[in-house]
């Protein structure tokens, strides 16, 4: 088989006209939502409120409402945090890194992926705050000048988290908004309802599609892409420091930063695929977000999944190679101890099942890939669970060994975070274009004159 890498992939299965594109993409904003939409929204928002109820309960009684104990001081809270931060990685990777690499297939999925990033960071950011014993004092983590000359402890990875996650959130949000400005202008021009028009007018910042606007926009977009790129790598690196900088066997490991970044991209892509598979069907966008797109993402999932698998192997190898009995014990215990079930869930979901993506048929089959990416989502949650809980439950002194049993509230908050995420996604699909209209137009046939005359 001969491959011509000079050529882009086929971007559309059925080449649309420009007007059709606008109509199709802004249809959810132009029409009233169906009953199904409201049922979906009611479902997700009830989950969300369930979560908030559980959080309220925790605020009132204390972290004791969770399953955590003196030995296993972190449980679901931090697991969820790392999980959601991981999910948040795909969006910026797609929108920034693939942009800089001129991967034009990204245009169709970038907006949606970015939105998911923002929502995932919102979910993630919730956890560090609610998991503290006294959340009302969480502000102590922020460096602010005060009369007592008290600063946060700048050598604590938890404090780096604060900076990393808040920076990431800010930059991602601005980047996303920047890309949205031309689309808001299109929506403003289409809007018939006065209030709608007013809102879109406000957010489109007076965009007139002028040449000068476009030039400035492109530049700004490039700069943001440049800014966001290192963040993609840094955020999860910093999150991994939470563990790597500790002395706990099973945490204290130099492999963590690259392993976490790979894992984050892995889980992020899996989540994007999960959502896109549903979204393209519901909004009739199968021609724009094509199987080709999904296949590419599946390839990335395969790649990063294998990287994660390599990291698992490396962890085990290093713990043996280190000659430190405590490390060795933790590695063996992980695979064969109390949490073996969680560990093997992780390994099978993250390493074994993605291997099916070696087969083109699987990569291009919607039901099969949906199953695999769902499993990856589960696996990646368990990966963090295993890292946190199984390492803590068998630490240095056998006298403090114990077992972690999550409480109902733990599950409530986990479910609530999914509720929050999908509620935000649902609201997003009805208020903003899920595909960047301005960008997608840039890859329609003939939109970009090229030296080979645009023929492919």
């Amino acid at each position: 088989m001969s491959l011509d890498y000079s050529k882009d992939m086929v971007q559309f299965t059925k080449e649309p006209k420009l007007v059709e594109l606008d109509n199709l993409i802004s249809k959810p904003m132009d029409t009233n939502p169906s009953r199904k939409y409201f049922i979906a929204l009611a479902f997700t928002s009830s989950l969300m409120f369930l979560g908030f109820l559980c959080i309220g309960y925790t605020f009132y009684f204390g972290i004791g409402a969770w399953g955590n104990n003196q030995t296993i001081a972190w449980g679901f809270g931090i697991t969820n945090f790392v999980f959601w931060v991981g999910i948040a990685h795909a969006g910026t990777l797609i929108s920034a890194i693939l942009y800089l690499l001129r991967q034009r297939w990204r245009n169709a999925i970038a907006r949606f992926a970015e939105a998911m990033t923002i929502f995932a960071v919102i979910c993630a950011g919730l956890f560090p705050i609610i998991h503290t014993g006294r959340p009302w004092l969480a502000g102590y983590l922020i460096p602010y000048p005060n009369s007592m000359n008290l600063w946060p402890n700048f050598i604590s990875p938890l404090d780096w988290d604060v900076f990393a996650v808040s920076t990431y959130f800010t930059v991602s949000l601005l980047f996303w908004y920047l890309g949205l400005v031309p689309d808001f202008a299109i929506l403003r021009d289409r809007a018939k309802d006065r209030i709608k028009k007013l809102i879109y007018t406000f957010f489109s910042l007076g965009w007139r599609h002028s040449n000068r606007h476009w030039r400035d926009y492109e530049k700004a977009y490039m700069v943001f892409a440049g800014l966001a790129t290192p963040l993609v790598l840094s955020v999860h690196t910093v999150v991994s420091f939470d563990f790597a900088a500790a002395i706990l066997p099973g945490w204290h490991s130099t492999i963590f930063p690259p392993y976490f970044v790979a894992g984050a991209i892995f889980s992020g892509f899996a989540m994007v695929v999960t959502a896109l598979v549903v979204m393209r069907k519901v909004f009739d966008m199968e021609n724009i977000i094509t199987l080709n797109h999904l296949e590419k993402m599946n390839k990335i999932i395969l790649l990063t999944g294998s990287m994660v698998g390599y990291a698992y192997l490396m962890e085990a190898f290093i713990s043996w190679y280190s000659g430190v009995p405590t490390e060795q014990y933790v590695a063996v215990n992980r695979a064969f101890g109390n949490y073996a079930w969680a560990y093997w869930t992780t390994v099978s979901c993250n390493v074994f099942f993605p291997q099916f993506f070696w087969f083109k048929k699987v990569r291009r089959s919607i039901p099969l890939m949906f199953i695999v990416v769902l499993l990856v989502n589960v696996g990646m949650w368990f990966e963090r669970y295993v890292i946190i809980v199984s390492s803590l439950h068998r630490d240095f002194l056998p006298s403090s060994w114990t077992y972690f049993t999550p409480s109902v509230i733990d599950f409530g908050i986990l479910i609530g975070s999914f509720g929050l995420f999908f509620t935000l996604v649902l609201i997003f699909t009805r208020t903003m274009p899920v595909i960047a209209m301005s960008e997608i137009k840039g890859i329609v046939e003939g939109a970009q004159p090229s030296h080979d005359g645009g023929a492919h």
Partner: protein, 1028 residues
């Protein structure tokens, strides 16, 4: 009057003119100039600290500031100064009172720390002849009983409907006095053992006044069998005190002398004196032969599993073997007992017995064989004989002996009492701070017999099983609210004085009785018993002391010391009566079937203090269980019964089936079941009710073997389970991959005495290569701690794992009670724990104890991960917690390799039993020097930093340097064996430095390189090793 003055002052401060005047003066340039001159003068004159003028100026300024600063302060009027300042109190400083603990028959001397008139901690009285400044966990925890919200606060009267209603002392007394006067028959007074000569006299007076009175005395656990056997052998009343410290070989037969058999505080101290690594030549060896693992068994060098009914055979076999080896001229024939057969039948290694025989012969006269109090008379006599023929009576203390004020009544006496009660001969029963319904064997029928008694009254601190069957309940004082005295040994008296006036509408139990005696001619006053006590001393005790000091002065001096030493001298001679030996059986008895042993609980004793959360939460030293008792059985027995941990079994000792959950105890003898006392209280209070299972159903009013051991019990599996919560997971015997995990990780390092004698540095390097240090890859940081640097050393040779220190720490540091379900979730709050590690096999385990507390690491892993710098290092080497800054991320706890950090998952004070710890009276127990932590905050041991600060303050006041040895941590103070040393690491000449730099010193998890400031002195086991 005082109130008026206060109001006036406040008005003065609020007077607006006052302020205007003040400011205008301040702004006046002339005034400024004058002030500067004044200041100059002051500073010229200022030679040492404050001058009078500066002082006055400061007082003025601070009054003004207080006026401004406090004007808006919302919390008004709660904090009240003393109206009349008591002479002996200086605010902010503790005052100590010597007194006597009354909770068991040992009557240890206590020193009560009070702050602003409220007792906050109980320590041992260093002046006390026996306890020598130490006090057991129960004694320490009794401070909590004082402030127990569940205490009875008023006398109660039972209504016709059977409800208890509050009544007044007058009407209750009147009601009962009418009954007493009617004198329709016998009066029975049921009491625990009386240690006080004055209480004894009081009871005699009561008998005089009401001649039909009979006093019945009981203790659930007592030494009566051992004493009776002793009397038969030697003619004196009490088994002697043993000089454990002088023994080279100790053989303990079913005797938990370090745990609950005898005066454990004294025994532990003397035992530890004989296990001093500084005196390695005289290091004693401990053999223990017992049915179930006990605290003594944990500390044994050699442990044998022997069923209690076979102990007799064991002793006789020993005698036979010794006789064979070393003609002992035995007065009786022991030829039917063969040690070999015994070893074979009981699966005991012959090597071990060989060592034992050799040791007993080698150390004749320097060894002691000690039979537990629960063993029958025959065994006791055999043991006395064994000691006699080996010449071990050297180790009996001949200059001191026990003394008793009241003889214990036998079970038969109580059986008779019950039948008298049933036949209606007894018209009044007075429970004098006793709880026979709970304590006496269920099949005695005491509870039902009470129904036949005209009037039942109970004097008690809190409602109990007996008080609910009474017509009148008299609420009595706690021991810290009472007067008293005690005499338990020859040579000294100890005194008990109240340190706080009664918190509730209660009276001292003796005063209640006294009131009944004197009812015609004297009204009750609070001083009543006080003067009775003084009179008794003046007329009966003081003259015998031949003191040259006038009585009142003598009395105050005695109260101050808490102890009065006398010139009494015991010169006991031990002459063995050989005639009685003919009654000993001459051939071994068989034993199959299950044997049930009831044992005094280490933490709860006989259950009097079951409502004490500190004790309930104090881990049982065997399996670290909390809040419950259980049937402790061996793994083999569990297999035979096909039960696993928490499954219930039913036990029938002849009085019907009783169900208990089981827990497998490594090292337990097969077919024996051991159950602790003190649990299963049905009436006591929120904390104690519903914890564990009562043993009174197992006990019998006519025991066949001994009152505490029941042979041939019927045991079977029962339905259902009951969760026993342990503080430490029960996975101690994971074979792989944690085998030898302790040595590998450097948690526990142990050696043998012989090894140490031969290579003193065996711990530090390979044998015989001299002392050298392994190269250090990290740079030294010596310059960091130039001044005082605090450190602790724990001698694991002396630590017996008794857990007294945990209660001391709870009391000192305001550690909350969390409750069973939180313990189950592993949210214990104790800052100090005693880790127990079992190694070897399930059948013959070796147990190691290790107190684990914050190691105050120089390179503390917790410090660098805290995002808000809430845990930091002090310049004197402490790892401190800043509670106010703590946000509660718990990262520090995750990163602590010792897992000694404790997180407040709830406001446990509120969460436990619906805010039981938030009741008003409970607040009084808190040490005001230690903040009470809120929920969401991390906490941990800081080496009693408040005590360090006290020393710092006095160093500044006295203008001297800080002296490390002046600070004693709470755990150190309470340690009965002085295993914990504390002091300044940089004071190179101190006693502490010797331990800090000991040859046997090591750090826990040294490989993690946290550089701890707690040094463990490695445990040496005195076994026969190849080196010898």
């Amino acid at each position: 009057m005082v109130e008026n003055i206060d109001n006036k002052n406040m008005e003065l401060e609020r007077d607006p003119n006052y302020w205007q005047g003040f400011f205008s003066i301040q702004k006046d340039p002339e005034f400024d100039k004058a002030k500067r001159n004044e200041e100059k003068k002051i500073s010229d004159n200022d030679n040492s600290g404050l001058s009078r003028r500066k002082f006055l100026a400061l007082v003025g300024a601070s009054a003004a500031l207080a006026g401004v600063g406090c004007a808006d302060y919302r919390d008004k009027g709660e904090i009240m100064p003393y109206n009349k300042m008591p002479e002996e109190i200086s605010l902010g400083n503790p005052t100590f009172y010597a007194s006597t603990c009354n909770l068991c028959s040992n009557s240890c001397g206590i020193l009560v720390r009070t702050r602003e008139g409220r007792p906050i901690k109980i320590d041992g009285n260093p002046e006390h002849t026996v306890s020598k400044g130490k006090i057991c966990a129960r004694g320490q925890a009794s401070i909590l009983d004082l402030y127990d919200p569940d205490r009875l606060q008023n006398p109660l009267r039972k209504t016709k409907e059977g409800k208890f209603i509050k009544t007044t002392w007058d009407s209750a007394n009147k009601e009962f006095f009418k009954v007493l006067e009617s004198a329709q028959g016998q009066i029975a007074v049921i009491t625990h053992q009386i240690n006080s000569p004055t209480t004894k006299k009081l009871l005699d007076d009561f008998k005089k006044k009401y001649p039909t009175t009979k006093i019945y005395t009981y203790e659930l656990f007592n030494d009566s069998i051992r004493n009776k056997a002793w009397k038969k052998c030697y003619g004196t009343d009490f088994y002697p005190i043993i000089k454990w410290n002088e023994a080279k070989v100790i053989v303990s037969l079913e005797a938990d002398f370090l745990g609950n058999d005898g005066n454990k505080i004294e025994n532990a101290r003397l035992f530890a004196e004989g296990r001093d690594v500084e005196n390695i030549k005289n290091f004693s060896r401990l053999y223990v032969a017992e049915a179930n693992m006990s605290l003594t068994g944990i500390n044994a060098d050699y442990r044998l599993k022997v069923k209690p009914e076979l102990q007799y055979e064991f002793v006789m076999s020993l005698l036979n073997e010794l006789n064979r080896r070393d003609n002992l001229e035995l007065p009786i024939s022991v030829s039917n007992f063969s040690l070999k057969t015994f070893a074979k039948n009981n699966n005991i290694k012959e090597d071990l017995l060989k060592h034992l025989i050799n040791d007993l012969i080698t150390y004749k006269g320097k060894s002691i064989v000690f039979a537990g109090r629960s063993l029958p008379e025959e065994t006791q006599i055999a043991v006395n004989l064994l000691n006699e023929v080996l010449g071990n009576n050297n180790l009996y203390n001949s200059s001191e002996s026990f003394i008793s004020n009241s003889e214990l009544n036998s079970l038969d006496d109580f059986n008779k009492l019950v039948s008298e009660m049933n036949s209606g001969n007894i018209f009044a029963v007075i429970h004098f701070d006793s709880n026979p319904v709970y304590h006496l064997p269920e099949n005695m029928g005491y509870k039902n017999a009470l129904k036949k008694v005209g009037t039942v009254v109970t004097l008690t601190e809190s409602a109990n099983e007996t008080s609910v069957k009474s017509n009148l309940v008299f609420a009595i004082n706690h021991q810290l609210e009472s007067w008293g005295d005690a005499k338990t040994r020859t040579g000294f008296y100890s005194l008990q004085q109240p340190v706080i006036s009664p918190l509730f509408n209660t009276r001292q139990k003796e005063a209640v009785l006294l009131n009944w005696i004197k009812v015609e001619n004297e009204n009750y006053t609070e001083k009543m018993y006080h003067s009775y006590l003084m009179d008794n001393w003046k007329t009966n005790i003081y003259p015998s002391l031949n003191s040259k000091i006038e009585f009142t002065r003598f009395w105050y001096g005695a109260l101050n010391d808490g102890v009065v030493t006398t010139n009494e001298k015991e010169k006991a001679k031990f002459s063995f009566d050989k005639k009685l030996l003919n009654s000993l059986s001459t051939s071994p008895k068989k034993s199959d079937g299950y044997t049930v042993i009831v044992k005094e609980s280490y933490v709860l004793g006989d259950g009097r203090q079951a409502n004490n959360g500190w004790l309930q939460e104090l881990p049982n030293p065997m399996i670290q269980s909390v809040w419950d008792n259980y049937a402790s059985i061996s793994i083999e027995t569990a297999k035979n019964l096909s039960v696993k941990n928490n499954d219930k079994i039913s036990i029938d000792t002849g009085n019907g089936k009783k169900e208990y959950p089981i827990f497998i105890q490594p090292g337990a003898t097969n077919n024996t079941i051991t159950i602790d006392s003190g649990y299963g209280r049905t009436t006591i209070g929120k904390v104690g009710e519903g914890t564990g299972f009562s043993i009174s159903g197992l006990m019998s009013n006519q025991p066949k073997f001994t009152p505490w051991i029941f042979t041939d019990a019927k045991v079977s599996k029962a339905n259902g389970t009951y969760t026993i919560v342990t503080d430490q997971e029960a996975h101690l015997f994971e074979k792989t991959p944690s085998e030898n995990i302790f040595a590998q990780r450097g948690i526990l390092v142990e050696g043998t005495v012989n090894e140490y004698k031969k290579y003193p540095y065996f711990l530090k390097e390979e044998k015989g290569k001299g002392n050298h240090k392994s190269p250090e890859i990290y740079p030294e940081q010596k310059e960091l701690y130039n001044g005082v640097k605090w450190g602790m050393a724990i001698d694991l040779n002396k630590c017996i794992g008794c857990s007294e220190c945990i209660v001391a720490c709870n009391a000192e540091n305001n550690v909350p009670i969390v409750g069973k379900e939180q313990m189950e979730k592993d949210r214990r709050m104790q800052w100090l724990r005693i880790d127990k590690y079992y190694s070897g096999s399930y059948d013959e385990p070796i147990v190691s104890s290790q107190p684990m507390l914050c190691q105050q690491c120089d390179d503390a892993p917790c410090e660098n991960v805290c995002p808000v710098a809430a845990t930091t290092h002090t310049s004197d080497g402490l790892n401190q917690m800043v509670y106010n800054r703590c946000v509660g991320t718990r990262y520090c706890a995750n990163n602590c390799p010792y897992k000694v950090r404790r997180f407040n998952y709830f406001d446990f004070r509120d969460h436990f039993k619906d805010g039981y710890q938030k009741e008003e009276v409970f607040d009084l127990v808190y040490n005001p020097e230690v903040s009470v932590r809120s929920r969401g905050v991390m906490e941990k041991c800081t080496f009693c930093i408040q005590r360090i600060m006290e020393e710092k303050a006095s160093a500044i006041r006295e203008n001297r340097g800080i002296i490390g040895s002046n600070v004693k941590t709470a755990c150190q103070e309470s340690c009965p064996t002085n295993a914990i040393k504390f002091g300044d690491i940089n004071a190179k000449d101190s006693v502490f430095a010797k331990y800090r730099n000991h040859k046997l010193g090591y750090y826990a998890l040294e490989g993690v390189n946290t550089k701890p400031n707690v040094t463990y002195i490695a445990k040496l086991r005195n076994t026969h090793t190849e080196e010898s």
